[in-house]
Structure formats: structure tokens, C-alpha cells
Amino acid sequence: VPAGLSGVVQAISAGDPAVALLDSAAAATVYRRAGVVALRDVELPEVAPVEELPLAPPAAGSRLSGLLGSDPTGLVVEWLGLAVERGVLAPPELLPSLLELGRRQTELRPLLAKAGGRRVRWLAAQQPDWGYLGREGGVSAAPDPEAWELGDLGLRLDHLRAVRAGDPAAGRELLAGTWASEGPAERATLLDAMEVGLSLADEGFLEGALDDRRKEVREIAAELLARVEGSAYSGRMALRALECVRVSADGKALEVTPPGAVDASLRRDGLRGASTPTPADRLGWLEMIVGRAPLRTWASLAPSPVDFLRKPVHGGRPALRAGLAAAAATQRDSGWALALLATSAETDSHPMAAALLGVLPAARRNSWLAGELSGRGKPDPQVLGLLESCPGPWSVELGRVALDAVRRGRRGLGWRIHSLCGLIARRLPVELVREAEEFSAQFLDDEYGGRAVIEVGSMVAFRKRMQEEFA
């Protein structure tokens, strides 16, 4: 019994001991509650670095808080994009919700790393679930030599990438130093980091990795070498490609002859052999060789990509086009990408067209797609589907054309009209708010209407308001 309570406890009548216990406990409870003292000398939390950028205007900040509440609209990404564009920051109290959202939505991460200011990195470092933010490109984590010595594979990879980002040669030497003692799975994972700061200087090391015992390591090395401009590897692929694709005797057509077998040198360069190759296997080899040969290889066969692509092909046109598309994507060659899109063939796959679209600069992408969709007849559903691969906000021209194409083609679209309208609602430039509202109004009494269709107008108006709140 505390000293201050002894008088009280003594005064409690000594009748039933159980009751006396309760009465004493009541006195002790109140005594203890009233006498609570604070902890002393508690260490203060680490202070977050001061921000350079201002906070988003209050209206924009509270809009974000509304979007995070229960956001079925997917507009958080757009909000963050607007903040980054205007150089303002998200309200700090919303960062935990944004970091939680970023665990599932990876496309949010690079934007959050910027719109979250210095505070978001300070915060993410305190909670392991948010560690992904430290690995976000552009915010590359500082190299941590201790992690390289003692960390798990993930931390070692982070360190290697960070070193490569600052000094590619130092990163290469770091990896070369431990290469012989790494296990096969480690070699494959760590070799991936060489993509950061990849250059011709890495060729010697990567050529060595082509002779690795582990197939995965050989394949990664081959892929990386194919991306190094002027490497001996791409030279070898160019020679092979020219053996497979020749101009016919009359000079008008292309004759395609896939390799008959995978010899030792082809295997070393990343092709997978087969004991009794099928025609499909052979076309697969062709596609890979063409995909890894420099696109300028073809300059000797035709004056321009379009001329090359317009030539009739004997034996394996789809594989040739797929290989060229892969090359255009890895070599980021917009000339070839545009030529491939312009000469599009029935056999082109949707992912292939989407990848080619991704190579084009935004303005070219918008204008090419607008050109394809404009007209009077029914729009090609395949081309409409490519709208998905054109990130927003679209150009005003493409926006107008897309609205018009859906209006014209609505009868043939079936349920796809809903996903298309959802896309339009999110990517239409807000300057077209009036057109969007007219579009929705027109569908109000239309049998092809539906929630998504009718909401295009209000959604674009909502986004316009969201943008204005940043002013």
C-alpha cells in the first residue's frame, strides 16, 4: 500500500475481507490514475529535412484526401502527376496512405518519390513495408558498402545499382571482384544491375559471362550485349541476320531463310537449340537474330525502313516483322517503329503494336493514332484498342478523334464501349470538357449508353476542376 493511501485503507471497515479488498483496490486505482507521471528524458524523434518545394494549394490538397478516401476513380496518379509538373508537394499527412497505395500500384511510385518531397523518404525509411520507395529510380538510394558485404541479395542488388548509377566502371569492378565466388542464382540476379549505365566498356565482362555455366546468366549477358551499340555481339548478329534475309534475284522481294540448326556459337550467343527443330523453332531463331541485330544492318538492302517493309517477303514475314519490332523497341528507334506501324499487317500482335507505340515520342504517338482513327467509317477495333497504350492526357486532336470514333463505332463495340469510355474519361485532355459533356448527354437516351458512357462528361469536368485547384 502506497504511503499516501495507508490512512484511507486503515479507515476501510474490516468486515468482509473480499469487500475490504475491493474498497482498498478502488482507493489504490484512483490514487494511481490521478498520480500518473509522464516518462522523462525521452529521446526526440529525428527531424525531417526542410522542403524546398511548396505544398500544393489547400483546395488541391483536400481533393487528394478525398481521392484517397475510397478512390474508385484511379485519379491519384493524375493528381501526383499534376503536382510533379507544377513542382508542389502532397500534404504530408496523406503520405502514409499514398505509401500504402504504392505497395500495390507500382506506377505511382516514381511520382510519389517526387511529389512526396523529402518528407516521404524520411517517412518511408521508418516502415519496412515502404522500403520500395528508397529503390525508386531518380531517387536512387545512396550506396551502402556494408550492405554489399553483409546484406541479403536484395540489399546487395540495391547497392550495386546505386554504385553503377554513380560510376559504372566502379560497379563493374565491384561485381567482377566477387564474380567467381558468387553462386549461380546470385550471378543471375546481380548481373541484371549492369543495365544501369550500360556501355561498350562493359563488353569484355559481359562476353566473359556468355561462357557461364548457368543458362540464365548467359541469356542475361546476351540480352545486355545486344543493347550495347557497336558491340561485337551485335556485329555477329548482324552478319547472321544478313545470311537469313536476302534480296531476291530480281531485287524486288526479300527471301527469308531461318537457320537450320543452332551451332555452338549461336548457343553461346543466347539461342536455345532443339535436337529436331520444327519450322516454328526455326522461325523463333530468326525472330531472335533479327531482334538483336542493329537496325542499320538493313540499310544495305533498302533505302528506308518503309521501302524495306513494303517489299514482298518469301517465307516468314510475321517472324521478320516481330523481330524488327523487338529491335525497334530495344533500340528505341522511332523511325522504324513508325514505319512498322504504318505498314501494319494482319499478323502483327497487339502487344507488338503497343510496344511500337511506346517507342514513339508522345506527340508522334498521339498524331499517328489520331490519323488512324479519324475518318467516316467504322473505326478498326484493333486500333481503338491501341488507345490503351497511349498514356494520357491525350492531345486535343486525339481526344476529339477518339470521342468521334466511339460515337461512330458504338454499335459494333458491345461491352467494350465501357472500358473505352472509362479510358476516355481519364485520358481526355480537360480542354475538351464541353465536348465530353455533349458526348455523354447524347448517350443519355441511347440504348448503347451505360454508366461509364454517361460519366465521361462528369469525370472530365471533375478532372478539370482538379487541375484548376493547382492554380
Binding site: 490521478a34 524523434p45 481533393r63 499527412e93 476542376r465
Partner: protein, 450 residues
């Protein structure tokens, strides 16, 4: 024009997330026409909102309480139209103007209703005083019987040892609670029911259970000696047992007028009921106040006291040795939203209304001396930031003094992020197990609801 509220404050009025989203979509100029607002005798906001029908909905908000009216068929309250109109206004999208006829009609019908209610209250004075007295005496007898039985039951718990309670299950408590309900002592019944959750509340539960049993014994022994207690303490005992004072009687007690800072609110599920607790602190009187409101499950709660606003109003306190629970009476003007940043009065008001950890603990100790059964008490700490120690999260002052957070609250990441390691004002409920943060003002500038 009354001060505009922030969009956050408007959103706090929404009864649920779906109304909040619906309102956000409607908070654009397109569907609205003939909107306006005026200060007048009552600050009011109105507009016509185009819906799916032919004639637009008439939406109108009395900003002083706030009270809402909308001609839409929605049973939600406030409906999405009222919320959207408030959002539009909060964003500066509503111009001042003269109230149209339908708005003034609504306002005058409301003030008439109020007058009639007051007249009724005055008229229902000594109606059948003798019968009421007889009923009260019968109830007092029944309660005394119930509490005597509770007293014996409490002693039995101690005699049999608390270890048995761990495996007893909820029936153990619910049976006793049900008998107290029959004895018309719902307050004591609820306290017995809560014992069940104390058992499962983690390390140290036995000590907490003994404390709660002991405080119940303090209540039964207090009720047995009701006649010898000071009048205000007797009132407290009666209310803890569950004898409620009618609202009219509370409202007829002398008012305490002050500018009340709305510290924050917390909703709690109790059986089929949601209880909203709104904590206030008077700027002049420095008195704490608790305004309770109740709603059936999934029904909207009263949203007339908005955290972070200052309300100039008369409060009428329920009688007791430590008056805390109150009803809002007459309001003297619309709620003021405190403006932070340079030139704003927010930091000055927070500085004068808030205390530090020691002064707030002292205030709690004196309150507990008057009202030993206090479960929660409002703290407004001027300068704290959250920090995670080995023993859990705490709020720490720059001088190194710290108080723990209640183990049942979620990790306070929003507050951590908002503070960035720098101290700010935080309003919280203080309970015997720690703090439950309600509202933060990081760097004493912006408002963050927690």
C-alpha cells in the same frame, strides 16, 4: 459572409464514404443553378441542383448549426446535394445574394418549430408531479435491490479469484448485466458488460479487471450512502448508475456561454448504436465539455460540431461533481474556422487554450478527485510529436516528457508524417491506458483529423 469551411471539414459531415464520393462528383458548377449565400440573421447557403427528374432539387443549408434541407428523396442526412453545395461554397464557387422565397420560408418554419418546442417545454412543467414521484420511488427501490445484488456478486468475484474470469466467457458478465438492466440500472449494466472485454485486453488484464471491479464496488457503496453524499456527487453516482436527467431539465439549467474550440470527435460502436463523442474546450472558461450524440447502426450521426472550428454557444451541463457532458443550447453566430499561417489567429488560440503534459495531467487529477469513474478526459497538448519507443508509440514534448498512446489505437502514421519530427498541437482523449489522438495541428498551423 460567414467564414468558409475547408473541404475537409465539409467532408467530415458526410454520413458515409459513398455520400462523400457522390458529393465530390456533384461539387462542380454544371448541375447547379441559382446558388447563393447570405449572412442575414441566420447565415444560409442555397442552390438548385439538376437531378434525373424534371425539376431540380432545392438544397439549402443553415450554416449556424448546421442544418440541412433538400427536396431530394434521399434518406441520408446530410444528402449528397447538401454536401456538394457546401463543397462548392468551400471552394469559393457560391456568390453572395438575397435568399429566394423558398429559403426564407424554410428558415421561418424552422424558427417557428423551435418556438413551439420551447413553449411545450415550458408548459409541461408540473403536469402530474405526484405520479412521477411515485414512479421515481419505485425505480429507486428496484435499483437499490439490483445494486445490492451486484455488491454481493462483486465480492464473490474476488472470493473465487480472478483467474476463473479468464475462461468464463461473455455469459459470465452478460447474465449479471442483464439483471442490472431489469433493475433499471443501465449504466451499471454497461460497466459490467465492459468487464468482459477487460479480460481479453492483453498483459496486465487481471490488474485492470480488479480496478474495474473495485470502481463498481465504489459505485454500489456510493449508491448505498446516497443520502450522505454532497448533492453534486450524488448526481454523479445517479448518472453512473444509469438514472438519466431529461434533456429539458438540462437545457433549463443556467447556460455556460463561451467560445468553444471543437477539439475532435470519436465514434464508437456500442451494441446496435453508434456513439459520437465530441470534445470541446472553452477559450475563456477553459472548461472541458463532451457532447454525445447517438445513431442507430448505419444511420448518420449529428455533424453540427466540426473539429477545428470555434463555436460561440451556450452549453448546458449535466449535473455532477465534475460536469463534463453537455448539451448545446443557443448559438451566437456561425462557427468560425480558425485560419493558420501568418496573420491567422490559430496559433494564438492554440497557445492560450492548450497546456503541456504536466498541466494537463494536473487537470485530469483534479477531475478524477471529483469523479473517480472518469473513463476519458480531453487533453490539448500545445507542443508534442509522436515517437516510437520500445514500449510503443508516445507523444513527446521538446523537454523530453512523454505520454504513451493507448495500446488499442492504430499506429499514428498520419500524425508522424504531418509533424515530420517537429512538435505541434495535438488534441487527444486521455484514458488510464494512454492517449487516443483526435486532431493534430502540425507546426500549429494546419488541421489534420486523425
Amino acid at each position: 459572409m460567414p467564414d468558409r469551411w475547408s473541404a475537409e471539414q465539409v467532408r467530415a459531415l458526410a454520413p458515409d464514404a459513398s455520400s462523400r464520393n457522390a458529393a465530390a462528383k456533384l461539387a462542380v458548377p454544371a448541375p447547379w443553378s441559382d446558388t447563393g449565400c447570405t449572412e442575414g440573421s441566420v447565415p444560409v447557403l442555397w442552390g438548385l441542383c439538376a437531378g434525373s427528374g424534371k425539376s431540380p432539387y432545392q438544397t439549402c443549408v443553415d450554416l449556424s448549426e448546421p442544418a440541412y434541407r433538400c427536396s431530394c428523396p434521399s434518406r441520408k442526412f446530410p444528402c449528397k446535394h447538401a454536401l456538394a453545395l457546401l463543397l462548392l461554397w468551400s471552394g469559393g464557387g457560391v456568390a453572395e445574394g438575397a435568399a429566394p422565397g423558398w429559403v426564407s420560408e424554410w428558415l421561418s418554419s424552422r424558427s417557428q418549430r423551435k418556438e413551439r418546442a420551447e413553449a411545450r417545454r415550458e408548459a409541461s412543467g408540473p403536469a402530474d408531479a405526484r405520479a412521477a414521484e411515485r414512479r421515481a420511488a419505485q425505480r429507486a427501490d428496484r435499483i437499490a435491490g439490483g445494486l445490492d445484488e451486484l455488491d454481493r456478486w462483486l465480492a464473490d468475484q474476488v472470493r473465487h479469484g480472478l483467474a476463473a474470469a479468464e475462461t468464463a466467457g461473455y455469459q459470465h458478465w452478460d447474465g449479471t448485466a442483464a439483471r442490472l438492466v431489469d433493475a433499471q440500472a443501465p449504466g451499471a449494466a454497461a460497466a459490467v458488460k465492459r468487464l468482459g472485454s477487460t479480460v481479453g485486453s492483453g498483459a496486465g488484464w487481471a490488474r485492470r479487471l480488479l480496478s474495474e471491479l473495485a470502481l463498481l464496488r465504489l459505485l454500489t457503496s456510493g449508491y448505498q450512502r446516497l443520502d450522505t453524499l454532497p448533492a453534486s456527487l450524488a448526481d454523479t453516482v445517479r448518472s453512473r448508475v444509469g438514472l438519466t436527467v431529461p434533456q429539458e431539465q438540462v437545457l433549463s439549467s443556467p447556460p455556460v456561454r463561451d467560445r468553444w474550440l471543437v477539439l475532435g470527435l470519436r465514434d464508437e460502436q456500442e451494441d446496435q448504436l453508434t456513439v459520437r463523442r465530441v470534445w470541446l474546450r472553452g477559450l475563456t472558461s477553459r472548461r472541458p465539455a463532451l457532447v454525445l450524440s447517438f445513431a442507430a447502426f448505419n444511420q448518420p450521426l449529428s455533424a453540427d460540431l466540426v473539429p477545428g472550428t470555434l463555436v460561440d454557444a451556450d452549453l448546458h451541463f449535466y449535473p455532477g461533481s465534475q460536469p463534463l457532458r453537455a448539451l448545446a443550447g443557443v448559438r451566437h453566430g456561425a462557427p468560425e474556422l480558425l485560419v493558420g499561417g501568418p496573420g491567422g489567429e490559430l496559433s494564438a488560440i492554440l497557445a492560450s487554450a492548450a497546456g503541456d503534459i504536466e498541466t494537463e495531467l494536473e487537470g485530469y487529477a483534479s477531475a478524477l478527485a471529483a469523479e473517480p469513474w472518469l473513463e476519458a478526459w480531453p487533453f490539448l497538448l500545445a507542443s508534442v510529436s509522436p515517437v516510437c519507443l520500445g514500449s510503443g508509440w508516445h507523444l513527446v514534448q521538446p523537454d523530453g516528457l512523454a505520454l504513451p498512446l493507448h495500446p488499442g489505437v492504430a499506429e499514428p502514421w498520419a500524425l508522424v508524417a504531418a509533424c515530420g519530427g517537429r512538435p505541434g498541437a495535438v488534441a487527444a482523449e486521455w484514458t488510464p491506458r494512454g492517449l487516443r489522438p483526435l486532431t493534430g495541428w502540425p507546426s500549429s498551423e494546419r488541421l489534420v483529423l486523425l
